[in-house]
Amino acid sequence: MGTTSFDEMNGHDGDCRQAYAELQAWLEETPKELLEQRRVEAEALFRRIGITFAVYGAENAEERLIPFDLVPRVLTAGEWKRLFDGLVQRVQAINALIVDLYGDAEILKAGLIPEEMIYANPAFRPEMVGIDIPQAVPVVIAGIDIVRTGPDEFFVLEDNARTPSGVSYMLDNREVSHLLFPDLIARHRIRPVESYADELLAVLESLAPRNARDKPTIAVLTPGSFNSAFYEHSFLADKLGVELVEGRDLFVRDDELFMRTTEGPKRVDVLYRRVDDDFLDPLTFRPDSMLGVPGLFSCYRSGSLTLANAVGTGIADDKAIYSYMPDIVRFYTGEDPILGNVPTWRCREPAALSHVLENLADLVVKEVHGSGGYGMLVGPAASKKERATFAAKLKADPDNFIAQPTLALSTCPTFVDGGIAPRHVDLRPFVLTGADGTRIVPGGLTRVALREGSLVVNSSQGGGTKDTWVLED
């Protein structure tokens, strides 16, 4: 598998690509012992600043570190330009889709997507129907997962329009690179990612309710310090210069949201919420939720509060909806998609299902609502027995699965076991949309599968991260 993959440093043929020339030279002249020493330093840095995440179901793993790989990934200005245009187009289409689905549902009337795929989907929230979404931007923050298979072959693997995470790693990785390899950085002209917080703040402010005061009050809502992404929540609040709140810090009075402060109640205009739809408001969603704020959804409905992201945006994350995304882009933008999809079989369609069952050994099969690499089958890596078990699951509930070919994901040089070796990577850029359009800081989170040959990059499955450099022209 490794031999057929495109390597971002050495291409298909082993000749170093120009963007990586300096990096390659640096890797050659830097002794491995020094790299190892830097790796240890990096780990100590991350531990000290407290970047940790929790792994579901793992015992004694309350706080674990996502491994940081020293070797940066490099993208040229040209590559980024195409990604940028494609991402803006895609996220604008996703926003139009969400607004439409909760409004007139033109796309369903046009017969582009089967109605039941939307209405039977738990990620579609009937409570949102007919609600006026501020500035028609439900998806303020999107994380679009990109994979690469060749010099010019970029595909979207997954859309994350619910509550994409990982941006703190993008920023911290850059910070650590600056500390550890100032010499290497000086040999490149790298576009900065540090403006992310300013851009996010501007975007959130642009979406404030009309009746907010001049300077809207923004807060980040976290489920609490036991959440796996708590570090990121507090990191973002810090960078934005806004309060990090939990449900217990907030209350609703007369359809307005307030936070409890040392000086009494203070109104909140925009909530960047990192709490799932289900838990936002026990009066409207799950009644047993302790994480949310009773009455919060009434504030949103009445227009006194902007939620980023809006409720019900998760419908765009659904992998069955994903398979329609090229049509969705055409429908709303009138243009051909700049970034393609990975070919996808919808197992709900009988012909597709039988194809998938016959070719299970070559395919990756995923749950349509799943995320984080849970509940998926990587055909080539699975044993015969695992495939048989999975086939039974698939036949029992075909609607719940899609399948994709096993892509030869690109590889990047990675520091493992005291040496440099190619490992598979993907990329998650963070796309921000406000009242005045869409913006993306040049870069993103590169995730790397640290095990040789592995295609699973999720941090919950042992993946690591890399700093991602977008070069100036």
Partner: protein
Amino acid sequence: MMLASTANDIFWMSRYVERAESLARILGAARRMSAIPQVLGDETNEWESALSAAGQRQAFGEADAPASEKSVFDWLAFNDKNPSSITSCLRQARFNARAVRPALTTETWEAINTAWLELKRFSGSSGRARDYNQFLQWVLDVSLKVNGSAFRNQLRNDRYWFSRIGVYIERADNTARILDVKYHVLLPEHSSVGGSLDYYQWSAILRSVSALTAYHWVYRQSFKPWLIADLLVLKEEMPRSLASCYQNIATYLDELALAYGRQGPAQRAARNTHARLRNARTEDLFQHGLHEFLEEFIAENNKLGMTIAEQYNLV
């Protein structure tokens, strides 16, 4: 303006770090005392005094072991099941800090987080080769780093003030407790001459609040029990004295009142206590009864904590 829950976490984070430091000082002084020659006829068990000073005698009693250096260290320093042990205090401080990480400076957060990471070195059952002195010194260093980083980098706003108020309320409580445990050796009629044992007792008290040198600088004479009480209760220039704590508490509460444009029962209570400490003379302490005075003070100090919580919606 800040989130009430943030203020609460900052307040308690500071208290827990301060409490850990006090415990370390109490343990250090007890170690020293227990090393004095038995021929001096010490009938009191220093390890029990240490437990009393930490307010832990009863809780320890339930652990059902005689008070010895090992058992008391295990309980007051390392026991994870004792919510008031040093390790528990540091763990709790880190828990509070983590919840309000953005409200802290990077240095303060790193000081607490690093302490929490290093704690693993000392806690658990692997600490057979523990060096008690090294551990106590480490705790003092942690507290110094946490306070020092705040002093050096923290913006002087309500976040800072709540953290300082936490420190000084906790410190006042600790000083008052240490004094109360040993008040009998400070009574003038106890021994105006002072045998060797008393000498050790007095120096242990001063040591447990880091005031041994300060005593000589302030009074320039040999230990007099009433002067020790005077130093630790009434001398504002002595940083761990009750008067100094209340000078600070009153100042920081005033800062809050000024910033918020509103004052209330917390400010009034702190000013009253501060004024009383300022106006009192050493004789008054003993006339009223030192023990009674300290008991009353501890109760009032506790009450102030609750008044602050109520006034600033911390609960």
